[in-house]
Amino acid sequence: MNGIKVVNRASRFAVDHFLVVPCGAAVALVWANWGAESYFWFASQLAFAVNHVGMAFFFAMIAQEVLEATMPGGALHTWRRATLPIVGAVGGTIGAIAAYEAFVLAGDERLLLAGWPIVCAIDGGLAYLFVQFLLGKGAARPFVALMAIVSNAIGLIVIGLHQQSAHLRLAGPLLIACGLVVSVALLRLRVRTIWVHIVIGGTMLWWGFWWSGLHPALALVPVVPFLPRSPRGLNLFADPPHGPHDSPRHLEHVLRMPVQIIMLLFALVNAGTVAHGIERGAWAVPVGALVGRPLGMLIAVSVSVALGLRLPHRLGWRELVVIACAASCSFTFGLFFATAVFPIGAVLTEAKVGALSTIAGALLTIAAAWMLGVGRFEGRAHDVPARTRESRA
């Protein structure tokens, strides 16, 4: 019984601290390097089920969170509140893509040019965790969460539009239309059981996406607007356990544990790479994420502030630098985008290594916070010029 309790507590800790994917990735890396044949056989058997079916539930949950954030009382409800993070996200994405493409072109590796959507990715969970750990509660958390949502949405749209399929059928668009009609009908009929929506409307949409050349991992997103929902506050990734989102009629409640298992499998299936010589593709992704994104985000926010937008209350430039660094970690979404952009092969391996290596963004974030003396490192503030401290207040 003690063993089960320990496992339960460890699982709960991993879930609460966004450690499921990093733990799964660590296991995958060890497995791939100790028993490559068995690992890649396992990964090849599960890749489709996890990346194309399982991840549909993950993106449904993300879509639900975004939708609720746009409801009255939600973090994205007014454009005024969300403008600066959106500007930061767009600027960061442009910066990341520019740095990625420049790095690839500098090495004349045109094969990698198509990989630019990978650097749109921000691991929202990890970024949120870093910011919470370093800067505590306040405007920084929703700021980085909104940035992650917008950046990943840009990447998902690009990937969704560029997805190539060998399974194109005319029935695809028809099934999408039917799936939407069914979802509306279920809403009108006041069907409150989430699984009915997912199984009937979701299945039709999945096949519709698959046969239309769209990435089927996004198939449940159109179902989400027809599901029961309630407003989501600023603490986007950390709602209290007994709020409206804990109702059995809420998607988050229904999918919370299944999605955690899916994310574990996702990391297991996708994160394993054999430690080979590092090719240019493996460098290009971190260059885009760790260099281009923070620069792009800070430049975009600076220009916006110069044009009249105001920084959120109690959020200064030093905190913004820490947020920009935290957003450089693409990890989970980077892995997903890599598998969506590149098919199996050596280039995908390079891109995966690159996405995994952006975990270095954690060190960058801590180093930035330490050097700037913010949040947990506030004690170092005496090293910072007084004028900068005032501007933060």
Binding site: A36, E37, Y39, F40, W41, A43, S44, G107, D108, E109, R110, L111, Q164, A166, V274, H276, G277, E279, G281, F342, P343, I344, G345, A346, V347, L348, T349, E350
Partner: protein, 281 residues
């Protein structure tokens, strides 16, 4: 002193002639070809290997060269195609030797439209010579259409010999890159199922031959233009290795036998042998 010098010269030239011996049967009706990988540097080693190939072509008139990817490194403007491909192999091109390229990770995908590479504007393709069918894959992106294509092409082929080549090796003892196991778990079952006999790859800048794996003989010939000296470690699968100089491979297919000879930049034979064709099950 002069006499001693003359004797030494004679011994040296006799040794050089011996080093450049052809070990292949060189039969009149056989299919003869050469294999080079990772060659397109435009540097001296590539030119040296090219000269050896020309030299051997005089005695072993191979009609084609299979290119295992990384056909051009770095910039790939028209003048680079001249410096990194046309110049080093000009005598072969003028002699009518045809080159059939696979794409490597350093290759610009537009190479598929470069006529001397004979790719026909596609990333993966197949062609036959006598009783041998070649299957050229793009191991950079093994997407679903390519997987479906290779399975169909292998299934349809009734040729005696099936030879696949692509850039990333399914088996390699190279320390820098090693085996591409994710590709192996996808491709090898198809190769076994449809009776592929031999697979050539590059990527690791060494020469290596493996003991037959599930009935298939694998070659790594990725030292056609640059070398990673001492980069290969021995494993229980190793049949032969050479990582002390750049190299290329000469191949002759005659009936049920495939003869091979790996040659170094100086013309020395570093490996040779025969692969017997498996009887069809």
């Amino acid at each position: 002193m002069k006499r001693i010098g003359a004797v030494l010269m004679l011994v040296a030239s006799a040794w050089a002639a011996g080093a450049q011996d052809l070990t292949l049967p060189n039969r009149p009706a056989s299919l003869k070809f050469a294999a080079i990988g990772d060659n397109g540097t435009g540097e001296a080693p590539e030119y040296d290997v090219g000269r050896q190939m020309v030299d051997y072509h005089g005695r072993f008139p191979f009609e084609m060269v299979i290119m295992l990817g990384d056909n051009l490194y770095g910039r790939q403007e028209p003048q680079d195609f001249v410096r990194k491909f046309e110049e080093p192999y000009r005598p072969l091109l003028e002699a009518g030797v045809r080159f059939y390229a696979a794409l490597g990770n350093h290759d610009n995908p537009s190479q598929q439209r470069y006529p001397p590479f004979n790719m026909g504007g596609v990333r993966y393709y197949t062609y036959a010579r006598r009783n041998v069918r070649f299957f050229v894959l793009d191991s950079d992106f093994l997407d679903a259409p390519q997987r479906a294509w290779i399975e169909g092409a292998l299934q349809q082929s009734s040729d005696d010999w099936k030879i696949c080549y692509f850039h990333h090796p399914l088996y390699s003892d190279g320390k820098t890159h090693g085996s591409q196991v994710d590709l192996r778990v996808v491709l090898e079952p198809l190769f076994v199922k449809y009776g592929v006999n031999v697979v050539f790859s590059g990527h690791d800048h060494v020469y290596e031959r493996f003991k037959p794996q599930k009935g298939i003989t694998y070659f790594v010939a990725g030292a056609g233009g640059q070398l990673r000296r001492g980069d290969v470690k021995r494993s229980e699968m190793t049949a032969a290795q050479f990582d002390q100089d750049c190299s290329f491979v000469l191949v002759e297919v005659s009936g049920d036998d495939l003869f091979f000879q790996a040659v170094s930049r100086t013309g020395a034979t570093v490996d040779s042998g025969t692969v017997h064709r498996r009887p069809r099950s």
